[in-house]
Structures are given as C-alpha cells and as structure tokens.
Symmetry: C2
Subunit: 313 residues, 2 copies
C-alpha cells in the first residue's frame, strides 16, 4: 500500500479532513463538527481520534502515514504554534506538540488557514503550474495567502498576507471590523459589496433593477451587471477599482506570477476578474502589467489540499 | 591565510568593490570608474581585471576566493542574469557566466542593487540582528529591498520590492517618471519632497523661513522643521503620511520584523523616522503596530556588503 498523509482544516463550525497519497491523490475526505466548548480544548482530541479511526478503517498502518498538516484560523509561528484563534477560543496553542502526543505521529505541520488554502490552490487548484501566487479570498471577509517559490510567506508575527486590511481609502469615515478605516475588506467582502451598493443606491438617480430587489446580495449585483444594468456595472467597477488598487500595491511588493481569486464572491467569474485586471494595470509599473488572474477551483477543499502539501514539501 | 569573497556594486558612475573574509570582516575596499561606452560591454572586463589584480596584490591565491557577489542596477533572475540596466546600456546580460569566464571563479551570484543593499544592511548595518526586513532607500528616487528569513525576495520578474512605485495618491495629476500617477517616489524622494514643498509654498499663507531660502533641498526643509518652522513641520508630516501609508500596506503583505530607512534623505534622522512611524501605525492592523524603524548605517557600502553576503549564505 502506498504511503499517505493527512490534511486537516479546522474551521469555526466544522473540521475538514482528507487522506492523500504521497503522489497527491485524494483517497477520502470527511468532516467532523468543531467542538468549541471549554475554550475549544477538545477539538484536537476529536481530530486525532477521527484521523486514527478512519485511517485504520481504510486499512492504513501507522507507519504508512508520513505526517499530518493542519490549517487553523489564526496566526501561526514556526509551523507549530498558533497565537490566537478567536473563533475557536484558543490562545497560544502548541498545535503540533499536542497532535504529536495524541497521535504518535512525529511529523505535524501547522499553517494559517488562508495561507494553507493558497498553498492548496497553487498545488492542485487555480494556481496549478505556478510557484509564486497571491491568493485573495472574497468571502464574509477578505483573506489572503502568499506563496513564494512554493512556500507560504508567514511573516514575523504570522500576519503576512493579511491583505483584507490594506488601506485602500484613507478618507473612509466608517470603521472596519479591525478598527481601522478604509480597509479593502470594507469594499470587497460579500458584505462590503452590498453595503457599498446600498450606500450608492441612496445617491443615484439611475434606473436600476436593484431598487426593486427584495434582498440585495453580491450575487444580485453581479447578475444585474451581467444584464448590463448601468448602476450595477458601476458598482462592479467600484469593486474592481479597490481590488485592482490593492493587488497593484501587493505586486509592487512581491511580484507574484499570478493572482488567484477565491471565496463566495468569486463565483461571479469573468466579470469580476476583468474588472480587477483593468484597474490593476493602472496601478503597477510596466514590468508588472498583464499578470495572470485565475479563479480558485478547489472551493472549501483548498484547506485540506494545502495542509497535506505542508507535509509533502 | 583565511578564505575570502568579493562584493561588487556596479553603479552608473563608479563600481565599488570590497574584499571580505568568510567571517564577514572587510579587508579592503576600492572603486573603479564605470566604463559605459559601447553599451557598457567593458564594465565586467574592468571589474574582473581589478578584482584579480587587487586580490593578487593582497597576496590571496585564487583558491582562497570562494566567490564573487555582484549588485547591478536592474532586475535580476536566478541570481545570474540581468534583464535590463538602463544606466549601463545593458540588455539581457548573463553577468554570472561572463564573470565566471573572465575570472575562472565558479561561484558568482548576482543581485539587484537595491535588494543587495538591503541584504547588506540586514547583515552588518541598521538591520543587524533581524532576518526579515524591508529597506527603503530615499534618494533621487525611492528604492526598496525586501529580505525574508535572510534571503532576498526577488519576485517572478525581479520586480519585488519596487516600493517607490506603489500608488499612494490615486488622484495625483502629475505623472511619475514611470508613467503612472501618484507613486510614492513622487512624494518621498529627495526631488519629490522639494517639489511638494514648492507646490505647497504657493498656496500657504504661513510665515516660513523657506520663502526666503535661496535654494530649497530636502535638508533645508528638515532643518527648518527641526527649528519648529510650522510650514516645514507640515511638509515633514505630509512626507510621513505617504511613507507611513505605503509601509503600512507593505507590512500587511510581508509582515517584516523591522524597516530600515536609508538614502540621502534619511540623514534627517529621528524627525523623519518619527513622522513615518506615526502614520504607519494608523494604516496597519493591531498585530503589525509598533514595528521597529531603523536608520541605515552602511551608506554607499551597503551594496558591497550585501553582494559579499550573497556568497557567504
């Protein structure tokens, strides 16, 4: 039987787990609930138990498993320890050591969930074929992960790639969840897009289908723009401007081969990518123009792929 | 006799060269003119000849030399080849291979001059003790170099760390030398600071010593600000805002341990660093606040130190 590794992605509601061969093929994937009671102190026990019982069920021996990679929703140092996971109730958790004790597996590596998802997309997703990418996840918030020469850029406090909190509008009066003003997340998250659209609706005298919409979501806005609703098209441009501006600054810093756009908002597809690319080119020097913009393809599985890749590197 | 390596820094006017022991002590440093005629085709010959004759004069044998590091003013790929050096007349020059042929030394490594200077400052200058720094050089232009875990961040086209062309003011009407509008370099280079000050002088009704100044330079502005000239203080704040804004975005991307500020403008000292740090903290999330800001200490020698370090790594 071939050797395997396990990729784990710990989220606020569920933990996703996958078994991969060392050639990178997924063998089985499943989920368990995230038990957040008692400051999340049982989460790693649950993960260890589930990993050991399912690998046994699949008839792998312990010596077949070369390691376990774990993505966690917080800043990670030395691929071992997470400083804080607000969603899980964790503070300074020695994830690698604890999992080693619980499973008897020596090779445990830990990464931040957004970074690990970026690694997964580079390996088997929208960034396949590249070695240096910037991944942008447009969901409830705006997350990011930066991969340089195949490795996660972690940063000295685990805060590299926190691109949702790049300031893109220094004169914004509303505050971001982080306390700053004018963060990318305020304009480019699913909630931000809707908020900006509602703000603009109050001021516009354009006829738009969005005035009649019962409920405005990022999807209704993109759908209207695809139908050439003039106001909705303006809102997509507005979003493209902020994302293009931020990704332009990022390119001036790290010069990646490509950008990969993921998260729920990225379901809008080409209309989104084209809006970003248009403004991006305005904000970068000549050598950086014309970068590739790809859509993410792994969806919620990016994390388990990337966690497994931590072990296979 | 101990082993040595050589650091070379090729500039538009002079080539700086240094001999270093493998322990990192500088043995001797000197300069030769940069011969730019015939598309700079004699520059590397001159460097090779000078390196060989001076090392011989110092009584080192060829087998004592473990390698030559070379900094060049253009984008470098694979530590070997430079794509373009406008100042030297170079296009696609295989610097490493040519120097290998000219000197018989196998271990030749090439880096971009700004990146190599950053490496030098991390090794023996203002960034000593750190492993991940962002260096900002405020001179005629604004250059940058990013070091992550002791290694230069090059980027996929050798354009990483080109932070002088991060857009910091998207509504700027004047164009930067690069063709874009509102680049950091337009506000934070020595020429940019003077230009902004002259622009503001036309509009202010404040009394300022700068109205009487025969010639306004970055130095006269900082000197006036140190004397608490209200208008000059405002101009320093204006500069601090743009630099703080840009360095904030950079920190959100790479999360360095520290920033090192160099170039002629950095002679202003603490007044400059304090202005940058004040605005920087406004534009970063909590985990990134309070980073160290250091002044560069190696001056024009940063390049030879960093080039030598390319070999010693």
């Amino acid at each position: 039987m071939s050797k395997i590794c396990v990729g784990v992605d710990i989220g606020g509601t569920t933990v996703k787990i996958g078994i991969f061969t060392t050639e990178g093929e997924i063998v089985r994937k499943w989920e368990i609930p995230t038990r957040k009671e008692e400051k999340g102190s049982h989460i790693l026990e649950d993960v260890a138990e589930s990993v050991l019982s399912i690998t046994e069920e699949e008839q792998y021996k312990k010596e077949d498993m070369i390691g376990i990679g774990i993505g966690v929703p917080g800043p990670v140092v030395n691929e071992k320890k997470v400083l804080q996971c607000v969603n899980l109730g964790w503070e300074n958790v020695e994830v690698a050591n604890i999992m080693k004790d619980l499973t008897g597996i020596d090779n445990i590596k830990v990464g931040n969930d957004a970074n690990v998802a970026a690694l997964g997309e580079m390996w088997k997703g929208g960034g396949e074929g590249y070695h240096s990418i910037v991944m942008v996840t447009l969901g409830t918030g705006v997350g990011g992960g930066i991969i340089i020469d195949g490795k996660i850029l972690t940063g000295s406090n685990g805060a590299a790639g926190e691109i949702g909190h790049i300031t893109v509008n220094p004169i914004e009066e509303d505050a971001c969840n982080c306390g700053k003003h004018g963060c990318l997340e305020q304009y480019a998250s699913a909630t931000g897009i809707v908020k900006e659209t509602k703000r603009a609706l109050h001021k516009t005298d354009k006829n738009t289908v969005l005035t009649q919409a019962e409920h405005i979501s990022a999807k209704t806005i993109f759908d209207a723009a695809k139908q050439e609703d003039e106001f909705a098209v303006e809102m997509v441009e507005h979003l493209g401007y902020y994302l293009g501006f931020a990704l332009g600054s990022i390119a001036q810093v790290v010069d990646p081969e490509a950008f990969v756009i993921g998260g729920g908002v990225s379901k809008a597809g080409d209309i989104l990518v084209n809006a970003i690319a248009k403004y991006y080119d305005k904000y970068v020097m000549k050598a950086l123009k014309g970068k590739e913009f790809r859509l993410a393809t792994l969806g919620n599985d990016a994390g388990i792929y990337g966690s497994a890749k931590l072990i296979l590197d």
